[in-house]
């Protein structure tokens, strides 16, 4: 029989006992709905967790540090080249790291404590450089109020919320749930200017020295040969945005409350606390670089490559691995519980079709008498099972989606009462929709095999005698 005829006859037969077949199909729908509901909850929770973690930038970043920094060796106790002959983490090496497969960018960490004046009042804070790529590649700056830096070297700043509150003289009361609205904070600040005072490290003798130090090579390590001066400078910066980013969450800019474009921060040659050579005349060397990779899976390979180059590297990829493992197990359990209802539904299919054989015994006999082969009869019953699976699966996915929305709605009411921000703990990706329908059809097909084989084996003489 042709595909059209099988489908046509199957649909006709299903319509003949519409009530019973509808009940069976509803059973499948409920089964699929519970499966979809369970899995979307698992997926939603996983997405929620990984979104938070990805925002932190912790899991797609490898930190490369020079082994010359003795503190690193003491802390991590790694083997490798001795500090004296290990390579310097300079601009050339940075470029090399950037060329590694899977690496998006490698940028230095610039962070320093300095004084910022606003409205003629001094404020002491940590300032950090932010790579321009954070605009598009990092969710961390998604929720800013205002706009991101206009260019890589624009004299602009983004303020962390608590610093904005400090500038405006608002004290957030600890323990109170009434949080200041970031929009309200941004309004009076955006467009205003603040002055950052900082110390520039320079080798230029012409600059008026604020303090002058003469260092011998033995004191500062192999790369720092020259004497340098520290010059007091100030830079006017325009406030472009306020972010409610948690200051602890961004690794590269940890605990900073004022953010500058990274390139600008580099160009300013600010003297950082560890007396690294950042002066304009020599090629810069870095104590550490943040290496961002295209996706967390590539972290181990990049880490390995950086170690081979003679640097220390570390990442928090192990933490994501166990998180993934946890969600894989959770999804597995949810899928098993969700599938239980579908298993019950599949027994319903077997039952319905076995009943249909009894009911349509004579009809099967007639079809065989006029020339239907075993395969024709088998195909017809399998098609009926698949049709119920398809319809049941489709309605089931829709039903699962509705259940999910309701749970999400309920959860958010609860979260709101507990003074938490609303969260999307529910996610039904397209693959789950298609996968659930396909699974439903597959389960129905398997359930239909036994009744179909029974119908195909029916003896036509016996069947025709049946009234």
């Amino acid at each position: 029989m042709r595909f059209y005829d099988v489908t046509d006859l199957a649909v006709r037969n299903l319509r003949e006992s519409i009530f019973r077949n509808s009940l069976t199909t509803i059973g499948i729908s409920v089964g699929v709905a519970s499966l979809v509901a369970m899995l979307s909850l698992g997926i939603g929770l996983q997405q929620l967790a990984s979104r938070r973690l990805q925002k932190s930038g912790l899991f797609d970043t490898v930190v490369a540090t020079s082994r010359r920094d003795l503190r690193n060796l003491r802390e991590r106790g790694e083997d490798g080249p001795a500090p004296a002959d290990s390579p310097a983490l300079d601009e050339a090496e940075r470029r090399k790291i950037e060329q590694l497969p899977g690496v998006v960018e490698a940028y230095p960490d610039i962070r320093f404590v300095t004084e910022v004046r606003f409205d003629d009042k001094p404020h002491l804070t940590t300032v950090a450089g932010v790579p321009f790529s954070a605009k598009t590649n990092n969710d961390a700056f998604d929720g800013i109020q205002g706009s991101f830096f206009s260019s890589e070297t624009a004299p602009e700043v983004i303020l962390q919320k608590s610093f904005a509150e400090e500038l405006l003289g608002i004290r957030s009361k600890p323990g109170s749930n009434t949080e200041t609205n970031i929009v309200e904070l941004a309004k009076p600040l955006i467009g205003k200017e603040l002055t950052m005072r900082y110390a520039e490290r320079t080798t230029s003798p012409s600059a008026p020295p604020l303090a002058s130090l003469s260092e011998s090579p033995s004191k500062t390590g192999p790369s720092d040969g020259a004497a340098y001066s520290v010059v007091s400078r100030q830079q006017t910066l325009k406030i472009v945005a306020v972010t409610d980013l948690d200051p602890d969450s961004l690794r590269g800019t940890g605990r900073a409350r004022v953010f500058l474009p990274l390139k600008l921060a580099q160009d300013l040659h600010v003297m950082q606390s560890d007396l690294r050579d950042t002066s304009a005349n020599s090629a810069p060397t870095y104590s550490s670089l943040s290496v961002r990779v295209t996706n967390p899976n590539q972290v181990p390979a990049v880490e390995e490559a950086i170690k081979k180059m003679g640097f220390s590297a570390f990442s928090l990829v192990d933490a994501t691995r166990s998180m993934r493992q946890f969600f894989a197990v959770l999804d597995g359990f949810l899928a098993i519980f969700g599938s239980l209802a579908l298993a019950v539904a599949s027994i319903g299919i077997v039952n319905t079709l076995v009943m249909a054989i009894l009911e349509r015994r004579r009809e099967i006999g007639i079809m065989k008498a006029v020339g239907a082969s075993d395969a024709d009869v088998r195909g017809l019953f399998v098609a009926e099972a698949c049709a119920m699976g398809l319809v049941g699966g489709t309605f089931g996915v829709a039903l699962g989606w509705v259940i999910g929305r309701l749970i999400n709605f309920g959860t958010n009411i609860y979260l709101e009462r507990q003074h938490f921000p609303p969260a999307e703990i529910w996610s039904v990706p397209l693959w789950l929709v298609l996968g659930a329908i396909a699974f439903s059809v597959f389960v129905s097909l398997v359930s239909g095999l036994y009744p179909a084989a029974r119908a195909a084996r029916l003896d036509p003489v016996q069947a025709l005698r049946y009234e």
């Binding site: 006029v370 020339g371 082969s373």
Partner: protein, 255 residues
């Protein structure tokens, strides 16, 4: 009589167990039916005429012996081949019509063409023509239950002939009809036998009907052939001549 053989059975048996007993429904029948013949199978209830018809129809398989239809031994065919044989070589008409009640007449007649994978567009036109030929052109969209017995049997005839079979098998085709309607159906069957040259094997228990339409009558009793009457050598008395046939074995004999 046509010289080529349409159906030939060689000592064919169909035995089946029923509880402790062995039922010999067909018990060693050998017959030859030429192409184009109109043969009536006569006998009392339980004489084995329907069982023999089922063997020739390929709905059942013999316990022993052979059923050869147009050169093919049905006993040697696979289930798949047997289905093909039923589809293309034989057409069947039953006492209870056996139309599918959920389908219209047109759909019922189209059904064998679905299994034969006839093109959808062609199918409808062919079924329509077949129903018009049996006088049901105005009843295409009716369901079987909306029709009289005679109309249902005509539709069933249209369905039996739709794939152009060589052999028409009829199991008590007039059994559920009044005599006038029965005659109409028999006239139709005869017209197909004569105009299309189709071999007809008809089971009936009505001697008169067989005499009027059939060219040959085979009398069965207890699964055996007791008399084979050809048109020329019909005896003058009405009673069947059983003197030459040995007494049949008792039925329900212990195994």
């Amino acid at each position: 009589m046509n010289t080529s053989l349409a159906v030939s059975t060689e000592n064919v048996c169909r035995h089946y167990p029923m509880g402790e007993a062995l039922v010999r429904a067909v018990d060693g029948i050998s017959i030859d039916i030429g192409a184009g013949e109109f043969v009536a199978l006569l006998g009392a209830s339980g004489s084995g005429k329907s069982s023999l018809l089922n063997l020739v129809a390929g709905l059942d398989r013999p316990t022993s012996g052979a059923v050869i239809v147009h050169g093919d031994n049905l006993a040697a065919l696979s289930r798949e081949q047997l289905a093909k044989y039923r589809l293309h070589t034989v057409g069947m008409v039953f006492q209870s019509f056996n139309l599918i009640p959920s389908m219209t007449l047109l759909e019922n007649v189209e059904l064998p063409m679905r299994f034969a994978e006839v093109d959808r567009r062609e199918r409808s036109a062919l079924a329509r023509r077949a129903l018009e030929r049996v006088g049901l052109g105005g009843r295409l969209a009716h369901r079987p239950t909306e029709l009289s017995g005679g109309e249902q049997q005509r539709a069933s005839l249209a369905r039996a002939l739709i794939n152009h079979p060589k052999l028409l098998l009829a199991d008590e085709p007039t059994g559920n009809l009044d005599s006038r309607t029965g005659t109409e159906i028999m006239d139709l069957i005869r017209s197909f036998n004569q105009s299309l040259g189709m071999t007809v094997l008809m089971v009936t228990h009505e001697q008169a009907l067989a005499e009027k339409y059939a060219g040959r009558m085979l009398h069965l009793a207890d699964g055996r052939l007791i008399q084979d009457i050809h048109p020329g050598d019909r005896p003058n008395d009405n009673a069947p001549d059983i003197s030459s046939v040995k007494a049949p074995a008792p039925r329900g004999e212990k195994r």
